[in-house]
C-alpha cells in the first residue's frame, strides 16, 4: 500500500460517497466510543457533520466549476450499478442540509445532555448521525431504489430519535409517524416498482430517457400517482400532515430542530427531483395535470397551516403548523414550474431550513433553560434571555418576509414567478399568509417583550444567576440568525445557484 498523491486525488474524486460514508461510520462509532466519556459522542457527531459539510461544499464548488459529477459505486456502470449524481440542483440542497446539520449538532450538546437519559446518549448520537447520513443519501443518490432505501434509513432512525423525547407522548407520536411513514414509504416503493416493471431500470437518468415513450401507459401514470401520494404524506402536505405536529412537539428539542430544518424539506426536494428529473416537465405539465392539483393543494396548505398556527398555544406546535404552511410555499413554486418560481421554491428550501431550524433552536434553548413551551408562560423572557429572543425576533421577521431577510427573497421570487406565469391570484394567498404569519409570531414577540413577567418565569431562578442559555447554544442560534440577514442582504450567491438549479430542473 502506498499513499501517493494519486490516493488523495482519487479520494477527492470519491467525495460523493464520502459525504455519506463519514456520517455513517461515525454513526457506528458513536455507541462504541461514547463508552469512554458521554460527551465523546457529541465531539464525534460534530466532527463528522463538519467534515460532511466541508465535503458537500467542495462538491458544490466542483459542480459550479465543472458541471454535474457522477460517481459509480464499486465502479459498476449505471444502470446496473448504483450511481451518485451531484448536479447544481442537489449539490445545493446537499450543502444546505450538511450545513444545517452541522450547526444544529454544534448547538445540541447541552440540550442533548439534559433531555436524553445518559445511558441512551450513545444511541442517540448513533441514530442522529444515521438520520443525517440517510438524508444526505436521499439527496445525492441517482438511483431511485437506493433513494427508497435512504428514505427508510432516515425514517427508521427518525422514529428512534422522536421516541427519545422526554414526554411519554413522544412514543405515541413516534408510533403514529412510524405507521404513516411506513405507509408513505410503501406507496413510494410501489411506485418505484411499477416504474421498474415498465422500464426495467432504476437509474434516474435512465428512467428519464426511457419514460417519455411510454408516458401514456397506465403503469407509468399509476406509478406516478403512487409516488406522489407517498411523498405528499412524507412531506406533510395538508391534509396528510397529521403526524407532523405531534412529532415536532414531543421529540427532543434538537431533533425537532433537525427534522424541521431538513426532513420535510428533503422530501419536498425528492418531489421536485422525481417530478422534473425522473419524469420531465412535459409530463407533469401536459400529460397529467399534476401541477394544477399541486397548486391548489399548496394554497390550501399555506392558508390552513397559517390559520391553524394562529390558534396554537404551544410554541413548538405553532412552529410545526407554520412549517406545514411553509412547505406549501416550496410545493407551490414547484407547481408553478417557471424558472423564477422554481428559484423561489429552491431558495426557500435553504431559507426555511435556516429560519425554522433557528426558531426551533431558540425554543430548544428556552426549554433547556426554563422548560417553557407555552406561549403565555413566555411573558418577560425578553429581559431574561435577550440574545436568544433577539434571534427569535429576527427569525420571526424573516418568516413574515421583512425586506432583506431571507424570507423576503423566497417570497419575492415566488410572487414574481406567480405573476410572471399569469397566476397573479396566487399573490393574495402569499400575502394573506404573510399577515397571518405576522399575527401568530407577533403574539409571541408581544408576550416576550411587552408583557409583565409570567408567574412561571419568576419562580425559576435566582436573579443574580445568568438566565441566558449556554454559550454554545446562543452563539449557534445567533449565527443562524445572522445568516438569515446575511443571505437576505447578499442573496446573489444562493440565488445564482438556485437559478441554475431551477434551469437545470426545467431542462432549459
Amino acid at each position: 500500500m502506498s499513499f501517493g498523491p494519486t490516493t488523495f486525488i482519487s479520494a477527492a474524486g470519491s467525495t460523493p460517497v464520502l459525504v455519506i460514508v463519514i456520517p455513517l461510520l461515525a454513526a457506528m462509532l458513536a455507541p462504541i466510543v461514547s463508552r469512554i466519556h458521554r460527551s465523546v459522542g457529541w465531539y464525534l457527531a460534530t466532527t463528522a457533520t463538519f467534515i460532511a459539510f466541508l465535503l458537500s461544499l467542495s462538491l458544490l464548488y466542483t459542480v459550479i466549476d465543472g458541471g454535474t459529477v457522477s460517481y459509480r459505486m464499486g465502479s459498476w456502470a449505471p444502470p446496473m450499478g448504483i450511481e451518485y449524481v451531484v448536479s447544481y440542483f442537489n449539490g445545493f440542497v446537499l450543502a444546505v442540509i450538511a450545513f444545517i446539520s452541522f450547526i444544529i449538532t454544534l448547538y445540541g450538546k447541552k440540550s442533548v445532555e439534559q433531555e436524553i437519559p445518559e445511558q441512551k446518549i450513545p444511541f442517540f448520537y448513533s441514530a442522529y448521525l444515521l438520520f443525517i447520513a440517510g438524508i444526505m443519501g436521499i439527496v445525492i443518490t441517482g438511483d431511485i431504489f437506493n433513494l427508497y432505501v435512504f428514505v427508510e434509513i432516515t425514517a427508521l432512525s427518525g422514529y428512534a430519535l422522536i421516541a427519545m423525547g422526554k414526554d411519554r407522548k413522544a412514543l405515541m407520536a413516534s408510533y403514529n409517524y412510524l405507521i404513516l411513514g411506513t405507509i408513505g414509504a410503501t406507496f413510494l416503493v410501489l411506485g418505484i416498482g411499477y416504474l421498474y416493471i415498465a422500464t426495467g431500470t432504476l437509474n434516474m437518468n435512465d428512467l428519464m430517457q426511457r419514460l417519455p415513450e411510454i408516458y401514456d401507459s397506465t403503469t407509468v401514470i399509476t406509478a406516478f400517482a403512487f409516488i406522489m401520494v407517498g411523498l405528499c404524506l412524507k412531506l406533510a402536505l395538508f391534509p396528510l400532515h397529521i403526524w407532523l405536529p405531534n412529532v415536532y412537539t414531543y421529540s427532543p428539542s434538537i431533533v425537532s430542530a433537525l427534522m424541521a430544518a431538513t426532513s420535510t424539506k428533503v422530501m419536498a426536494f425528492v418531489l421536485l427531483r422525481i417530478m422534473f428529473t425522473v419524469f420531465t416537465p412535459e409530463f407533469v405539465l401536459e400529460v397529467v395535470p399534476v401541477t394544477k392539483i399541486l397548486i391548489v393543494m399548496s394554497c390550501v396548505a399555506i392558508i390552513m397551516g397559517s390559520l391553524i398556527a394562529l390558534g396554537q398555544t404551544n410554541i413548538k406546535r405553532m412552529l410545526a403548523y407554520s412549517s406545514i404552511g411553509q412547505i406549501g410555499y416550496i410545493t407551490l413554486g414547484a407547481a408553478i414550474a417557471t424558472e423564477t418560481a422554481m428559484t423561489g421554491s429552491l431558495i426557500h428550501i435553504l431559507n426555511h431550513a435556516l429560519m425554522k431550524g433557528m426558531l426551533f433552536m431558540v425554543v430548544g434553548a428556552v426549554v433547556y433553560k426554563t422548560g417553557i413551551v407555552n406561549i403565555k408562560d413566555m411573558e418577560g423572557l425578553g429581559k431574561r434571555m435577550p440574545w436568544t429572543m433577539a434571534a427569535f425576533t429576527i427569525g420571526a421577521m424573516s418568516m413574515i418576509g421583512f425586506p432583506f431577510t431571507v424570507g423576503f427573497i423566497s417570497k419575492w421570487y415566488l410572487a414574481t414567478g406567480a405573476i410572471g406565469a399569469g397566476m397573479w391570484y396566487l399573490v393574495p394567498v402569499l400575502l394573506v399568509s404573510s399577515i397571518m404569519t405576522a399575527f401568530y409570531f407577533w403574539r409571541v414577540v408581544e408576550s416576550v417583550y411587552f408583557k409583565g413577567r409570567s408567574a412561571r418565569i419568576d419562580t425559576l431562578k435566582s436573579p443574580h444567576h445568568s438566565d441566558e442559555a449556554p454559550f454554545g447554544m446562543v452563539v449557534t442560534t445567533l449565527f443562524l440568525a445572522g445568516l438569515c440577514i446575511y443571505f437576505g442582504l447578499w442573496a446573489s450567491g444562493p440565488v445564482e445557484v438556485a437559478k441554475n438549479a431551477a434551469a437545470f430542473l426545467l431542462g432549459s
Binding site: G401, P403, G420, W442, A491
Partner: protein, 603 residues
Amino acid sequence: MTEWAHPGVIMLVGTILIPFLKGGVKKSYMLLIPLVALAATYYSTPGTTVWVYDYMGLKLVFGRIDALSIGFSYAFCIMTFIGGVYSLHLDDDRQHIAGLLYAGSSLGAVFAGDLLTLFLFWEIMAFSSAYLIFAGKFKNSTKAGTRYLLVHIAGGLFLLAGILMYYAESHSLAFNGFTPDGPGGATAFYLILIGFLLNAAVPPLSAWLSDAYPEGSITGSVFLATFTTKTAIYVLIRGFSGAEILIVLGIIMTLYGILYTIIENDCRRLLSYHIISQVGYMVAAVGIGTEFAINGSAAHAFTNIFFKGLLFMGAGAVIYVTGTRKLTELGGIYKKMPKTVVLFMVGAFAISGFPLFSGFVSKAMIIGAAHYEHMAWTTMLLSLTAVGTFLSVGLKLAYHLFFRPNEHNELAMHKAKEPPTNMLVAMAMAAVICILFGVYPKALFSMLPFPTDYNPYTMDHVTASLLMLGFTALAFYIVLGKLNPHKTLSIDTDWFYRKTGGMFIYFINSPLLKIGDLIAGVVFTAVPNGLIYFMRNPLGAFKIGADTFSLAISGSDRRVKLRSRIKREKAIYPGDNIKHWPIGSTVVWVAVFLLACLLIYFV
C-alpha cells in the same frame, strides 16, 4: 459612488453606539447625530443619483438627491434634533434608538430611488415607530401598538403586492410617477396607492393614527407626529402627483379630522385628528398637481412638521407634569406653566394660519393653488377646514387645556409646573422656526422642489385671513357653553378591527374551531371509523344496514322480529369500540388522495 453620506444611514448606523455611552457624552452624541445628518444633507448635490447597488440583479438606489428629497431631509433632520433635545431628560436607550431608527428610515425612504429600497425603509419605519407606541406605557399602549403594527404590516403588504405587480410587468423597480395604465395596470396603481394612503392616514385607513399616537410615549409622539404621514406625502408627491382622486380624498380628510377634533376629549387624540386634517391639505395639493400646488404641499409638510411637533411637545409637557391627558381634568393651569402656554400658543397660531406664522404661508399656497385652478368647491371646503382648525386648536384646545376655570382639576392643578428645561428649549426652537417661516417665507421657499416667488402678504389675503380668524373667534365665544368636553371617546373606523378584531379572535377560537373540530371529527374520525367499521365485515354491516332500513319502513307486526335480528347481528359483528387514531383517518385520506389522483390522471 460619489462622496456622499446618506443622512438616513448616518442615523441608522449612529444608533449602534448609544447603548455603550454614558451620561453627558451620550447626550451630546445623540444630539450630534441629527446635526451630522443635517450637514450631510447640506453637502448633497441636487440632481445626482448615488449609492446605487445591485441586489439579485435588481437596481437599488439609496440616494436619489434632488430639491424635493433635500427639502424633506432638512426638515426631518432639524425635527430629529429638536425631538432629541425634547427627550434629553429621558434615560431609556431603547426609545432613543427607536426614535433615531424611525427618523433614519424615514430619511431612507425619502432618498430611496427605487421601490424595493422604499419598501425596506417603509417597514423599518413601521417597526421602529411601533416601539415608540409600546414605550408609552399607558393603559392601552401595548394593545394600540399591536394594532398599529399589524395595520402597518397589512399596508406594507398592499404596497408590496403593488410593487410585485409593477415589477413583474416592467422588470424595473424605478420609483417615478405611476399611472393606471402603466406597468402592472390599474391593479398595481391602486395597490401602491393604498399602501401610501394608509401611511398618509386617509380615511377610512386613518384610524390607526388617532388610535395609536395618543398612546405613544410623550417624547416618542413628537417623532410620530413628524415622520410617517410626511413621508407618505413625500412618496405621494413622487408617485401620484396629479391623481385627481387625491383631491377628493384630501378634502374628506380635512373635514373628517376637524369634525372629530371638535368632539374629542383626549388632548393628544385631538391633535392626532389634526394631523389627519392637516395632511388632508397636502394630499389635496398633491392631487391638484401643479408646480405651485406641489410646492404648497411640500411647504405645508415642512411647516406642519414644526408646528405639529410643537403642539405635541406642548401637550406632552402638560401630560408629563400633570399625568392626565383628558380635557375634562385639565384647565386653568396657565398660571403654573406660562412659558409652556406661550410656546404652545405659537404653535396654535401657526396651525391656525395667523399672519406672520408659518401656517399662514403654506396654507395660503395650497388654497391659492386650488384657487388658481378654478376649483370652487376645493377652495371653499379647504377654507372651511381652516376655520375649523382655528376653532379647535387655537381656541377650543388652548382654552380647555390652559385657561378654562375648572373645579375638577385640583390634582392636575397641584401637580402642574413648568416642564424640564430641555423640553422648553426644544419647544422654543420649534417656535422660532414657526415664526421664522412666517416672517421670512423665503427660508421656507428655499426648501421647496420648485422655485417660487410667491408673496403671501398681499393686503386682501391678510385681511381675508384676519376676517376668518376674527369671526371664528366671535362664533366660538357665542357657543362656548356648548363646547365643554365630555368624558367620552369617539369611535372611528378602528371600530371595525377593534371590535371585529376581538370578534375575529373569538371567531377563530370559538365557532371556527368548533366547526373545524366538527369537520375534523367527521372527516378524520367519523368517516374513516365508519369505513373501518364497515370493512370489518362488509356483508354483516350491509345486513345490519338493510335491516335497520326495513325496520324504519315496515309495519309494527315485523318490528319485533327485525329488532331481535338486528340485535343478534350486532352481537356477532366483529370488532370492539373504535378508538380515535389519527392513523386511520390519514390512511383514509391517503386512499382518497390516491383515488383522486388516479381519477384525475386517467379521466
